[in-house]
Each structure stands twice: as structure tokens, then as C-alpha cells.
């Protein structure tokens, strides 16, 4: 029998952070291994005590009995991993939708998102045949920005062709892109084109100064943001991006729209880490320059803000990446921190088409940033609009996940709860969410018109004035 008396120094005891990976300050996988494919994430398993909270929060595991779940994908698989170079990542990692529910659900700080992204990257680069349809299809989906850029050159033709029956049938057969889905329409004028017409940053500065003067604020107030609009609000829903600019300028902010590429979200989800890195390098470079000049970064898409805040520093070691991560915010969150948004909303009112009862769905990636109640709390006090939270289920589409024929059914099954709550919980046929692909899924399942909180904010604060 032991007479082991604990001789642990109480001062040492306080070092222990139950919710942080307790791998010590010395350990930084990103620094140790310069190439993201070679991360050794085994130490991340130290924090897992197998409670299975991640598994119970996983929307895929709930509908797919074959899927082994995040506990296996993350801490278990990494702990069992061998360093001999012949160890293979299990192919089930491709069934993970990268919703990252597990990552925020973990009570113990296991870096599940980082583990999944890294494992998937390794699987794709080492196991997936680059000539396979799956690889080609995934690469096309992951590089949506490239397709969207091309399509935006001929927006009307593209919108027509992409939803033209025979074309969709072929895409389903050959590329395994489900014919059930409607491709989003391409805007006839991209946000960037509109922004240039508004005079870009210079125009914004002038307008911001006018507003500050009118609001009685110092004309030289340090209110400036760098807008990361992402691909979707540039090519497909410029009205969201325009709303952001209008709302920010309404509060006297100067907006700049720096050079930017895809945030990388669809690339992480498809294990295309090299592509993601290339894009991240551009984004970090331009964003960190602005952060150095005192700008904060804001994004209207919650997956974009999550990528910049969390996934970048977890996966890449790029100059300035930590500064960008620390200074990036979701666009409404930022205003709630710095402005009296609540007061403004209480005094406002909406009418017209946005005077409606919205079925609000919180995107998983918004949950990861602690923002799942933001829209409901904020607009609860807005006269003319009502917010109905349609529950905490995942929308199931998870970016490109629901855009794969073999995942389509699963994606729809995950969304069943959400569809039901939308249809039963709201009178007006209109929904709201921050995430562009959640919006696609909501529309696809219910036929509702889906809006972004910035659009409602714009209607409440500006259009009535």
C-alpha cells in the first residue's frame, strides 16, 4: 500500500487549466512542425477524458450509425496514431462535415477542430487519388471562389446554365453534385464592383467623417474597420455586404476592403490544406498590415470570421497570423461591443417586407464564437420584427458537405428538425441566419426567403430615416 502523500506544490496546482490543452508553454505544434501535414497532435489527446460530450453534439453521428464520431476522429485516432509514416488516417474523416460542434462542446479543451482539419488534410494528401472524381469534385467545391469569379463574368448565363436541367443531371452523374439542389444566383454587379463605384476607401472615409460630425463625435475618431466580405457576399449576395457598409458608415466607421481571397473554410472541410494556405497567406498579409495601422477586421459570414480567428492560428504559421486572429470580429458582434446597438434598436421600427416574423437559425460556426443568441437578443426589442429561434440543430449543409451527392440525404436528415421548427414556428415565410450555406439549406428545405441580420439592421437603422 502506498503512503503516497501528495507533495505537489500548491502553486503548481494553479497552473492547471482544466479547459486548456495542458501541454505546457513549450509545446506549440505549429512551431515545432513547419509543415501543417506533419503536425504532431498527439499531446492534444492529453485533455480528453472520454466523456463523449463531443459525440452527443455531433450532428452527423446522430443520423449516421456508421460514422464513428468526433471522439474517435479526434483524440482517439491521434492517440493511436503512429509516427512511422505508414499509419493511415481512417477514411471516415471524410464523413465529418466540419461543423465544429465538437470543438465548442468539449468541456476539456481538446483541439478537435485542429485535429479533424489536420487529419483530413493528411488523408486527402496521402490517401485520396488526385485523379478520382471525389478529389476533383471536392477540389472544385472547395475552390468555389474560382468558379464564382468566372461565373460573375457572365452572371445571367451562369445562373441559367447552372440550374439548367440537363446540365444538373450531368453534374449529378459525373461530378456527384446532387441535382436536387438549386445553385445560387450570381449577382449582376459584384460587391467589389459596387464598392469601387462608391469611391472605395476614400469615399468611405469622407462619408464617415460627415456622419461623425453629425453625431457630434470627433471627426478624427479612431473608427476604422477592414471588411472581410468573403466570396459569397461578393458574388451572390452583395446586398449583405452593402448593408454592412451602410450600417458601419451610419455609426461613423471608415470601411476599407482589402485584397482578399477565400477564407479557406471550404478548403479545410475538404482537406485541401495547401490551397487554404495559399489563400490564407494573402488574407493574413493584407489584414495584418491593416491591423498594424489600427484597423479591426470584421466579417459578415460567421465561417469566415471563425477561420480567421481560430482555424488560421491552429493550422498555419504565417507572419502576423496571431494579430489578425486577435483583432477579427463578427460584424454585428463588433457593433454590439463598441456602439449602443441595443438602444438604437429599441428606438427603431421596421416596416415593409422586413416587418416579419423571422425563423432564426444560428450557424454552427457562430456557436463556436459564442454568438448563437446574438440575433435573437438584439432584434427581440425591434418593433415590427419578431425573432423565433428555430432550435439548436445543425442545418446539415455545412458548406460544401450537402453539395455532394453521397452526403445529400444525410445533410437533409440533419436539417429535419430545423425545417420543422421553421415551418411550425413562424407565420411569415422568412428566415434569418448569418451563414450563406445555412441560408441555402433553409431555403432549399422550406422555400422561405432567407435574410442576413445586417439587412434587418440596415432596414431598422437607415432606411426609415
Amino acid at each position: 500500500m502506498s503512503d503516497a502523500e501528495s507533495n505537489i506544490d500548491p502553486a503548481d496546482g494553479t497552473d492547471f487549466q482544466p479547459t486548456a490543452p495542458n501541454t505546457g508553454e513549450e509545446f506549440e505544434p505549429v512551431d515545432v512542425f513547419p509543415d501543417s501535414d506533419d503536425f504532431d497532435l498527439r499531446p492534444g489527446s492529453d485533455s480528453c477524458y472520454k466523456c463523449s460530450t463531443c459525440d452527443t453534439n455531433c450532428p452527423v453521428a446522430e443520423v449516421d450509425d456508421e460514422f464513428p464520431g468526433p471522439k474517435f476522429q479526434g483524440p482517439e485516432q491521434w492517440r493511436l496514431k503512429q509516427a512511422d509514416g505508414e499509419h493511415t488516417i481512417d477514411d471516415s474523416v471524410m464523413d465529418c462535415s466540419n461543423c465544429l460542434r465538437c470543438d465548442s462542446a468539449c468541456p476539456s479543451g481538446v483541439p478537435l477542430g485542429q485535429m479533424h482539419n489536420t487529419a483530413r488534410g493528411e488523408y486527402v494528401s496521402e490517401e485520396l487519388n488526385t485523379f478520382s472524381i471525389e478529389y476533383i469534385r471536392n477540389r472544385i467545391l472547395a475552390n468555389y471562389r474560382t468558379s464564382a469569379w468566372l461565373a460573375s463574368k457572365f452572371p445571367r448565363t451562369s445562373s441559367f446554365m447552372m440550374n439548367f436541367g440537363p446540365v444538373r443531371w450531368m453534374m449529378d452523374k459525373v461530378l456527384k453534385v446532387p441535382k436536387e439542389r438549386d445553385f445560387p444566383e450570381f449577382a449582376t454587379e459584384t460587391f467589389q464592383e459596387w464598392w469601387a463605384k462608391q469611391g472605395g476607401a476614400t469615399g468611405s472615409r469622407e462619408r464617415a467623417r460627415e456622419v461623425r460630425e453629425r453625431r457630434g463625435e470627433p471627426v478624427d475618431a479612431d473608427k476604422k474597420v477592414a471588411y472581410f466580405h468573403g466570396c459569397y457576399s461578393n458574388y451572390n449576395t452583395p446586398e449583405v455586404a452593402k448593408a454592412l457598409v451602410n450600417v458601419y458608415e451610419y455609426f461613423g466607421y471608415e470601411v476599407v476592403v482589402p485584397e482578399q481571397k477565400c477564407s479557406g473554410t471550404p478548403m479545410f472541410a475538404n482537406g485541401m490544406l495547401a490551397d487554404a494556405r495559399r489563400h490564407a497567406e494573402v488574407n493574413v498579409s493584407s489584414m495584418s498590415d491593416l491591423v498594424d495601422q489600427g484597423y479591426d477586421a470584421v466579417a459578415s459570414c460567421t465561417s469566415c470570421s471563425l477561420a480567421l480567428r481560430q482555424e488560421y492560428p491552429e493550422l498555419f504559421d504565417i507572419d502576423g497570423i496571431e494579430e489578425v486572429s486577435d483583432n477579427t470580429f463578427e460584424s454585428v458582434e463588433y457593433l454590439r461591443i463598441h456602439e449602443d446597438l441595443k438602444g438604437e434598436i429599441e428606438a427603431a421600427e421596421v416596416d415593409g417586407e422586413l416587418a416579419a416574423e423571422f425563423g432564426y437559425h444560428a450557424p454552427c460556426h457562430a456557436r463556436n464564437q459564442g454568438l448563437e443568441r446574438q440575433a435573437v437578443e438584439l432584434f427581440g426589442d425591434l418593433e415590427g420584427a419578431e425573432m423565433e429561434d428555430v432550435g439548436d440543430s445543425c442545418s446539415g449543409i455545412s458548406g460544401t458537405y450537402g453539395w455532394k451527392s453521397e452526403k445529400y440525404e444525410k445533410s437533409m436528415k440533419i436539417a429535419e428538425d430545423m425545417f420543422e421548427h421553421m415551418e411550425e414556428g413562424t407565420e411569415s415565410e422568412v428566415g434569418m441566419t448569418e451563414c450563406p450555406t445555412c441560408a441555402m439549406q433553409m431555403e432549399h428545405g422550406t422555400g422561405y426567403d432567407i435574410r442576413h441580420p445586417l439587412e434587418l439592421l440596415e432596414a431598422a437603422l437607415i432606411e426609415e430615416n
Binding site: A4, T23, F27, S45, D46, Y49, L80, D90
Partner: protein, 577 residues
């Protein structure tokens, strides 16, 4: 001699089992008895290092040479028990250059392949080595699973006709006219596979010769026949880390010292060790400071150990032996060599030889020598074949397979299973029925657990050492009941409960020394779960059988105003309970 002699071997550690295999392969009749399960003593409490001999290359070159020879043999005959990780002797700035050179020379003199690598090269191999190390020497150290090795030796001995009895304690030596003629044993259960709750009883096993291979316990067996065997047991602590911080064996390159080795072992890394003489191999203090001291010291080589998760600690006792005239004060000075004590020559007691001292890595060589000795006595001139014939599981096999297609297993689980089972993988893993994962931490499936139960009976600790089930980071929190469930059916409820309790106790024993940080969280979660779902905070149902049908019907009570009606709540309890 006309008939085949019958040899009794006492001790089911690596030495005893090596002797049993060797003798039985030479056609000799062997009975081996072990007081616990296989590896119960020192063998199950080692750090899993397959020595290259590098550790002894300066101070004990005879041992070093034996080590490198046997290192090569075991890689060949026990390939499914060995992982050739390679090893490094790491020199820190405060360690002397003189010793570093001696080590290098020593290795060369003993035929141990050794190369000097720079700090950069060493850190490229092992990124978590301290940034300020000087340089290192590479040697062919490896990792070896002592459990798997002993179990495979036992299986081979059985194939050659040996009788292996575990949970069988020697209570006396049978001595007639200054000759040992057998042993008296007490079985914890009936002969054969261990089955909990079965009356055991005593047995007298007569033998033509007795081999005492009980290591640190050798003196006790000697006492039974009035001979004095001066084993000097020395304890050492080992701590198991949750994950492998290093994939190479890391040794500190300095003369003898505590806490100077990290061995990657399966999913974990084992830190070792200390060296302190004890009086009783079964009763000695286990102190927290020994663990703390070891982690602190090894953090000088691998800084991240300081904050990494430990899952348990255990102590082992070395069966050191020193000829009576040497008299070393410090146990670290006692030779690691082995000695064959023929009690006829030494004590005028015929019929018994003891083997003491030695190391795990040279277990086979020790077995060969004592088997030669025994065979010589009986005029048997059969050749030793243990260095040439692979152990069961180590026949030709490849771990690179399509696990999902062949066994329906997820990649890392299939890989780990095949590594553990070696050439037995097909036989064990190809099952018709469903094959769920029983132990998630170590990737052990039902098929493997069932195979172990077939081998060892109702002893779940024996299942554990065969499969690694319950040896991962939750330390059985999530799988002990599943393992017990695998027993049920073939064994009744009481047998199952007893085995389950024993497994939980064993798992707790080592975790007591790791109760801080994450493992404390783990232990608390395990406790809460086991308390809430298995009543383990109170009185687990392990006494009398439970009448489950009593729960189904509730209690019928006649009430005053509605005679005949029962007042039973929907949960089966009584209203107002």
C-alpha cells in the same frame, strides 16, 4: 535415462516462461506454476526496454554484449512483441565529454552499432528534446511488450506439451533425503484456466527436478528447503505518460543515475526509474516524491514532460543478486548479470537450481543456459531451438493491410490489433458476428477480448495484459464493465462480478499515483460514472445474486379504501417511497 524427465519450474515471469518453452521444445515434460497471472511479478513491472546493451557498455560489458546478441534474436523470433524505435544517449551541457566518449567506445567494443549525431540531427529525430542538449549517440534500443512476449512463450510451451498453472502458489518444497522431489502448491481455483469462485485446493506436484525462477522471491522458495539465496530486491518507479512524447528511446548519457530513460511503449511513454534496495519484494513504500523527482529530472531532456498527462505509476523490484563476497553498498553497483545456483554444489541439496539476477532482454539466454544445465543432468542432448523458431504470433506477417475490407475495422484500430496479434490476426479478427470496439483508448475489439478469455479464463487482468484493454487514458473507466460483459454468458454472474471488481481494483492501484491535472479529472469522472450507474460508491452487487425479477413487479400493497387495488408507481416502486 529411459523415461522423459518431469521438470517443475516455479515462476511465470520472463525467465520461468523462457525456461518452460526451451525445455518443452527439447522434449522434456514441464509444469510451470505462477502465484498470480503471467508476468505478475517483476516482468509485468518493467519499462518495456529492449536493451541494445548501450546502457551497460561502460560499466558492465559482459551484460552489454549479451544484450546486443539477444536484441538481435528477439527482433527475429518475437517480432510482434518488438518495436524497433532506436535509441539515443543524449548528452546535456553539464554531462561530461569524457563519459560520452567512453560510452561511444564501449558500444564499439561490445559490437553495438553506435553513431554520434549533432543536436540538430537529434532534434530532427525527436522534436521535443530540449533545445540546449549537446549531442547524442544513436543505438539500436527498442520497445518490447513484456506481457505479449511472456504470453507467446507460454503458448509455445503449451504447444510443446507443457502444463502452465497460474494463480498457483508454491506453499512448500517436497524434500526427501536432501533432495527436492517436488512442490506443494495451492490453486486459487481448479487446475487449468483460472476461474473465479471455483474451489482450488492443494496439489503435490512431484518432479525429477525443480527450477526456481522466482526472481525477487527466490529467497522465499530457498527458505522452504532451508537454503539461503541472497537476492537483494531493489525497487524502481516507473510512470506512464498518456501519449508518446518521443518515438525513440531517450537515455541520459551519464554514469548511473536515477530517472534517466524514456521508453516509447505502444500508445504511451514510460519514464524510468529509480534504484533503491528494499527488504520485502511485496511490501515496500511507494512515495509520491519518487514520481515527482523522476518527472522533474527527465524534463531536463524532454521539457514537455513537465506538464504532460501521466496516467499511472508503478513500482517494480529488480531481482538483483550478488555473490556473497562482493558486498556492494549501493544497489546501482550490483551487477545486472545472472547467476545459476545449483543447490547441490552450493548447499548439498539435490534436485533444484535457482536462477537469479539478470535482465528481461536476456531472458531467453538465461532459459537456454539453465535448460542446458538441466538437460546435462538427465543426459539429454537435444539442441536449444528458442533462438531460431519464431514465437506464436511472430511468424511472417505484415501490419500493412486493408483493415476495413479484411476485418471491418477502422484504420487505426485494425493497425493496432494486427500489431498486437501478429500472425494470429486472421485467426482472431475474422469473425462472423459483430465486432464492436470494447476499449476505445487502445483500439481493442470484442474478437480480441474473446480470444484472450479463451486463453486465460475468467481473469480479466489476464485479458488486460493480453490485449491492452483498459490500459489507455481512461484507465478502464469506460471499458471495464464491457470487458466484464464479455465474460458473462460463458461465466455466471458472480464469477463475472468478482473478475470485474478485481480489474477495477488493479486499475485504481496505479492511478492513485497520478491524481493531479487531467488524470484527476479522469478519475473523478470515472468515479461519478461508476458510482451513479454501478453503485460503486456504496455496495456494488457482488455478494449474493440479485433477484432482478423483484424489480419488475414492484410490491403489491392493499390500500384501505380501495381493497384489492395495488398502489404501485409507474417506476415499479411504491408511492410515497
Amino acid at each position: 535415462m529411459a523415461s522423459v524427465p518431469h521438470i517443475a519450474v516455479i515462476g511465470g515471469g520472463s525467465t520461468g516462461i523462457g525456461i518452460a518453452r526451451d525445455l518443452s521444445m527439447r522434449g522434456v515434460d514441464v509444469t510451470l506454476v505462477e502465484q498470480g497471472n503471467l508476468t505478475h511479478g517483476t516482468t509485468g513491472r518493467m519499462h518495456g526496454l529492449l536493451h541494445s546493451g548501450g546502457r551497460y557498455a561502460v560499466a558492465d560489458q559482459k551484460s552489454a554484449t549479451e544484450c546486443i546478441e539477444e536484441n538481435r534474436v528477439l527482433r527475429d523470433i518475437a517480432s510482434h512483441c518488438v518495436e524497433m524505435t532506436g535509441g539515443l544517449f543524449v548528452k546535456r551541457p553539464e554531462d561530461t565529454e569524457e563519459y560520452f566518449q567512453k560510452k561511444l567506445e564501449g558500444c564499439k567494443e561490445c559490437g553495438i552499432p553506435a553513431e554520434v549525431v549533432s543536436r540538430e540531427e537529434a532534434r530532427q529525430m525527436e522534436p521535443h528534446l530540449a533545445k540546449d542538449i549537446d549531442k547524442a549517440i544513436t543505438v539500436p534500443d527498442g520497445a518490447i511488450d513484456p506481457f505479449r512476449l511472456v504470453v507467446a512463450n507460454a503458448a509455445s510451451a503449451k504447444e510443446h506439451g507443457a502444463r502452465i498453472e497460474t494463480h498457483t502458489k508454491v506453499t512448500d518444497l517436497l524434500v526427501e533425503d536432501d533432495e527436492v522431489v517436488g512442490i506443494e502448491v495451492e490453486h486459487a481455483s481448479g487446475a487449468g484456466k483460472h476461474v473465479h469462485g471455483v474451489e482450488g485446493g492443494t496439489e503435490e506436484i512431484y518432479a525429477d527436478y525443480v527450477v526456481n525462477a522466482t526472481g525477487a522471491w527466490a529467497g522465499r522458495i530457498g527458505d522452504m528447503a532451508g537454503v539461503d539465496i541472497e537476492v537483494r530486491p531493489s525497487k524502481g518507479v516507473m510512470t506512464i505518460m498518456n501519449i508518446r512524447q518521443v518515438d525513440t528511446v531517450i537515455n541520459r548519457c551519464k554514469p548511473k543515475g536515477d530517472a534517466d530513460i524514456v521508453v516509447p511503449h505502444e500508445t504511451t511513454a514510460i519514464l524510468g526509474t529509480t534504484d533503491e534496495e528494499v527488504d520485502d519484494p511485496e511490501d515496500y513504500p511507494e512515495k509520491q516524491w519518487e514520481v515527482d523527482h523522476m518527472i522533474d529530472t527527465l524534463s531536463e531532456l524532454v521539457p514537455m514532460l513537465e506538464d504532460a498527462r501521466t496516467i499511472r505509476s508503478f513500482w517494480g523490484v529488480r531481482p538483483l543478486y550478488e555473490p556473497p563476497n562482493v558486498g556492494s553498498d549501493d544497489p546501482t553497483d550490483i551487477t545486472r548479470d545472472y547467476f545459476l545456483l545449483d543447490h547441490d554444489e552450493r548447499d548439498n541439496l539435490q534436485g533444484m537450481t535457482s536462477i537469479v539476477g539478470g535482465k528481461f532482454t536476456t531472458y531467453r539466454m538465461m532459459g537456454e543456459e539453465i535448460s542446458d544445465h538441466v538437460c546435462e543432468k538427465f543426459g539429454i542432448d537435444a539442441e536449444c531451438r528458442t533462438a531460431d523458431v519464431p514465437l506464436p504470433g511472430s511468424e511472417d506477417f505484415s501490419v500493412l493491410r486493408d483493415y476495413m475490407d479484411e476485418f471491418g475495422l477502422r484504420s487505426p484500430i485494425g493497425r493496432r490489433s494486427v500489431e498486437r496479434l501478429g500472425s494470429r490476426a486472421d485467426e482472431v479478427l475474422k469473425t462472423d458476428g459483430p465486432n464492436p470496439t470494447v476499449c476505445e483508448c487502445e483500439g481493442v475489439t470484442r474478437a480480441e477480448v474473446q480470444d484472450a478469455i479463451d486463453q486465460s479464463g475468467s481473469d480479466l487482468n489476464a485479458v488486460r495484459i493480453r490485449t491492452r484493454s483498459s490500459m489507455g487514458n481512461c484507465q478502464g473507466g469506460f471499458c471495464c464493465h464491457r470487458m466484464a460483459n464479455e465474460l458473462y454468458g460463458e461465466y455466471d454472474e458472480l464469477t463475472t462480478r468478482e473478475a470485474w471488481d478485481e480489474l477495477l481494483q488493479e486499475r485504481w492501484k496505479g492511478q492513485r499515483h497520478a491524481l493531479w491535472g487531467q488524470q484527476l479529472s479522469q478519475a473523478m469522472l470515472n468515479y461519478a460514472m461508476h458510482a451513479a450507474t454501478q453503485n460503486r460508491d456504496n455496495d456494488p452487487a457482488d455478494g449474493t445474486p440479485i433477484d432482478f425479477s423483484a424489480f419488475d413487479n414492484g410490491q403489491a400493497v392493499t390500500t384501505g379504501d380501495d381493497a384489492g387495488a395495488t398502489d404501485v408507481a409507474t417506476d415499479g416502486g411504491q408511492h410515497g417511497d
